[in-house]
């Protein structure tokens, strides 16, 4: 969306999706409220409901479970946040994750490569897929939806080809314990990786020139170009990062499942995008923040966890999840309308 000085906010929001305010230079309170206020309210409401209705929900152990359960989606969502801030979208994350996890398994199992090297290779494969996404968007001029939709299909096919659709088992014990052992009494290594990545991404997006460039590009690629920003290269790097993070997600998933499956990550792209948007980002670009995304991811995770604990039937769960996604974003839209 470009500058529309006298457009009523409602009307502009109407078609392209709710515009969003994300001034990174506001007072802490305003910042909190503007970035992820709606989502935060949603999360608190969910927490309260589940804490009241199911006694097992509000225990340290269960909350740590929730964190473990969202690590993979969370790591993917960090990359997706950056992509969405540029005004793009990445539908390929789930498939790229599958390809990376198969490469990890294949190299360490069949290839006899040391685990550490295989892990680096998994991330590299993810980054490569991201690079192709990025070049597709910036050089070939494909709409991000199409570039990453194509990559989604390609990577899923490749992931299956690695072992002709078979899963790979047989990771070393220490690798499995990365996701299952809880160090410091609390967090698994994988959860800590997620938390560190989220912090790093927050700092980069908010305080590093690279992050500011990403916001500028999403606000208007042309404005960014006129300001001397290398739009193509920054955009490409964002996709590369998202791909590399899918590789990290693949390692976490392999550790969590103690195996690699070519069907891994199917449908994750929609969960990830939903989390980012619930967190306050706009699909038209220029806005979004990691704190919001983390809240969005937690909303989805807490919801699934709580509904499972309540023993809600899976079919009803789908309905409730749909309603909560819509509800969380509506809260956000209303809140913004009021501030305008």
């Amino acid at each position: 969306m470009s500058t529309k000085p006298f457009t009523s906010p409602t009307q502009t929001a109407l078609i392209r999706g709710a515009g969003s305010t994300s001034g990174p230079t506001r007072s802490p309170l305003a910042r909190m409220l503007s970035g992820s206020g709606g989502a935060l309210i949603g999360l608190i409401v969910l927490f309260t409901i589940f804490a009241v209705t199911t006694p097992r929900f509000f225990s340290a152990n269960n909350l740590i479970n929730v964190v473990d359960q969202v690590t993979v989606i969370g790591v993917l969502a960090i990359g997706a946040t950056a992509v969405i801030i540029t005004g793009g979208i990445d539908l390929s994350v789930g498939s790229v994750l599958a390809l990376s996890t198969m490469v990890l398994g294949w190299l360490s199992d069949e290839g006899g490569v040391p685990m550490g090297v295989a892990m680096v290779a998994a991330v590299a494969v993810g980054a490569l897929a991201g690079l192709l996404n990025g070049l597709g968007v910036t050089v070939a001029g494909l709409p991000p939806f199409i570039a990453t939709l194509a990559m989604m299909s390609i990577c899923r096919g490749l992931a299956n080809l690695v072992t002709d659709g078979q899963q790979i088992v047989g990771y070393p014990e220490w690798f499995y314990s990365l996701a299952s052992n809880r160090y410091l009494g609390f967090f698994s290594v994988t959860a800590i990786v997620f938390i560190l990545l989220a912090i790093a991404a927050t700092v980069i997006l908010r305080y590093r020139p690279a992050g500011r460039k990403i916001y500028a590009i999403g606000g208007s690629a042309e404005v960014a170009r006129l300001a001397g920003i290398k739009v193509r290269s920054v955009t490409t790097w964002v996709y590369v990062t998202a791909g590399a993070l899918a590789g990290v997600g693949a390692i976490i998933l392999a550790s969590r499942l103690d195996s690699s499956q070519p069907s891994a990550g199917t449908g994750y792209e929609l969960d990830v995008i939903a989390a980012v948007v619930i967190g306050g980002a706009s699909l038209s670009g220029g806005t979004g923040r990691i704190s919001g995304t983390v809240i969005g991811v937690l909303i989805i995770g807490v919801l699934r966890n709580g509904l499972n604990l309540l023993g809600v039937s899976p079919f009803l769960q789908q309905i409730v999840i749909g309603l909560v996604i819509a509800g969380a974003v509506i809260v956000d839209v209303l809140r913004r309308r009021r501030t305008h």
């Binding site: 969306m1 470009s2 500058t3 529309k4 000085p5 006298f6 457009t7 009523s8 906010p9 515009g19 969003s20 305010t21 994300s22 001034g23 990174p24 230079t25 506001r26 007072s27 700092v203 908010r206 305080y207 590093r208 020139p209 500011r212 460039k213 916001y215 500028a216 606000g219 208007s220 042309e222 404005v223 960014a224 170009r225 006129l226 300001a227 001397g228 920003i229 290398k230 706009s282 220029g286 806005t287």
Partner: protein, 498 residues
């Protein structure tokens, strides 16, 4: 190594060919340090194209440039900025979802230990903006600013570039008198420090005030060059247009005593506080001018009259019948049409053809029994284009037209409906003299045909030249209603001042 003669910018034989158009055809230009060169010309003469080539935004088909004696061929804006050449683009280029400070700092964020220094960023932005008389604050979102505020942010952004040559492409198009004065003061100060400027404007009175030299372009070629600024405007106009424009404003015909009141506005009050208790009448054949300084609330008032904004109390009636105000369609049905101030975002669907844009509010007129035929659509487009002298084929995208032609289309698309009330908000912003005269003629024609016309403009000359009566707005309230004879610039300015 550079000799004194080679200081500054030299452009030789700038040529730019677009498919179907030669935008520039071998133009030379020289800008010396501490000098302000004004670039004049009709809409589409090639001013912005030349500016863009110098600033690395567009690539010339052919050009030879030197900058302080060295060959200069920027591949993109980055290289131009690095060399010390900055551009304020004619179309405002801002990030609406970011704050004022962020927008000013974009691409040049101040860092402290590798991280963004937000306080310094705000301070730097406000230092520049204060000089320009900016009314907002650093943490405001740009989307909340008025057009003038946005223009000031754009200027502040360029001032922070540390450029030694700054190209200002119509920086004052959206500014009022006070803001323009503040800008000029800043420009003079920077000139003293050795900074040079290329200045593009359609406001000839401004040129007299600040230009050191004048270059006039026509159809992509240089037609005249003056080594001083105070050239007679009439001479400039004839150089620009290629003929003499004998008069800008058509004569204002006196209103008959019995002309009926068409538009009646009573007690109009914004629930959001933009204006309160605005009442006025406009009679058939009358042109009402609305004057005021930037941010006075004029745009908000006329948008309310045209039912474009909800959240308004009070009544608007046409021919004695109250108009519902839920949707612009209500006003249109009652015969009120609005030519909005922001033609790019409110007036035109830019990626659609001229013909489609003209057809949009006239769907019943181009339909036969509910079916739209290509024939009537083209026909209507041709009629309107001829009537207003629009340059461009009906099937061309609206985005390919120059600003003046775009504005003509925005006005023209409403004419076929025969509106009873037509409201024009800043109808000639960024429009050249020739096109302006044509638009004024259209306005006078509409009035003569019995419409009630309301013209909002920050160009005082325009208001005084067109209107039967002038309503002055300040801080959202009516400060005075002056007849044509009462309305002197001094009185209007006096009432408009806060």
């Amino acid at each position: 190594m550079s000799t004194e003669k080679a200081e500054g910018l030299r452009v030789r034989g700038a040529r730019k060919v677009y498919p179907g158009t030669v935008a520039l055809d071998g133009v030379d230009l020289e800008v010396r340090p501490g000098e302000l060169v004004a670039l004049l010309g009709e809409n589409g003469a090639g001013k912005s194209t030349l500016s863009s080539i110098i600033a690395g935004v567009a690539r010339a088909t052919e050009v030879e440039m030197t900058w302080n004696g060295d060959p200069y061929a920027p591949a993109d804006p980055r290289e131009a900025i690095a060399a010390g050449i900055g551009l304020i683009h004619q179309e405002m280029r801002l990030l609406p979802d970011l704050t004022v400070a962020e927008n000013v700092a974009v691409g040049r964020w101040p860092l402290a230990r590798g991280l963004l220094d937000a306080r310094r960023m705000r301070r730097q932005a406000m230092e520049q903006l204060d000089r320009l008389g900016f009314a907002g604050h650093a943490d405001q979102l740009v989307s909340e600013l008025s057009v003038a505020g946005q223009q000031q942010v754009e200027i502040a952004k360029a001032l922070l570039l540390d450029a030694s040559l700054l190209i200002l492409d119509e920086p004052t198009a959206a500014l009022g008198a006070a803001e323009t004065d503040a800008l000029f003061a800043t420009v003079q100060e920077l000139k003293k420090q050795g900074m040079s400027f290329i200045y593009v404007s359609h406001r000839l009175s401004e040129i007299r005030r600040i230009a050191d030299r004048i270059v006039v372009l026509r159809d992509g070629a240089k037609v005249a060059e003056h080594s001083r600024g105070d050239v007679d405007p009439e001479q400039l106009v004839s150089e620009m247009v290629g003929r003499s424009v004998d008069r800008l404003f058509p004569p204002v015909e006196p209103l008959g005593e019995d002309a009926p009141v068409v538009l009646q506005v009573a007690g109009l009050t914004s629930r959001r506080g933009h204006f309160s208790d605005v009442s006025f009448d406009v009679r058939a054949g009358e042109v009402l001018g609305i004057a005021g300084i930037v941010g006075a609330g004029r745009t908000e008032i006329v948008r309310a009259v045209a039912s474009a904004d909800p959240h308004v109390d009070g009544t608007v009636s046409v021919g004695g019948r109250p108009v519902r105000r839920r949707h612009p369609a209500d006003a249109i049905a009652a015969g009120i049409v609005l030519v909005p101030e922001d033609r790019k975002h409110q007036g035109l669907v830019l990626q659609h053809s001229i013909a489609d844009n003209i057809a949009l509010p006239n769907l019943p007129a181009v339909s036969r029994g509910g079916w739209i035929g290509g024939g009537p659509v083209q026909e209507l487009a041709r009629t309107v284009s001829q009537r207003l002298g629009v340059k461009g084929r009906p099937q061309d995208d609206a985005s390919s037209m120059s600003g003046g032609n775009q504005q003509k289309v925005v006005i023209g698309k409403w004419l076929e409906r025969g509106p009873r009330v037509i409201i024009l908000d800043e109808p000639t912003r960024g429009i050249d003299v020739g096109a302006r005269a044509a638009i004024y003629d259209v306005i006078a024609d509409m009035a003569r045909a019995g419409a009630a016309v309301v013209v909002v403009s920050s160009d005082l000359e325009e208001v005084l030249g067109l209107a039967h009566r002038v309503m002055v707005i300040a801080e959202g309230t009516v400060r005075g209603m002056l007849s044509r004879t009462e309305a002197t610039p001094e009185r209007v300015m006096g009432l408009a001042a806060v």
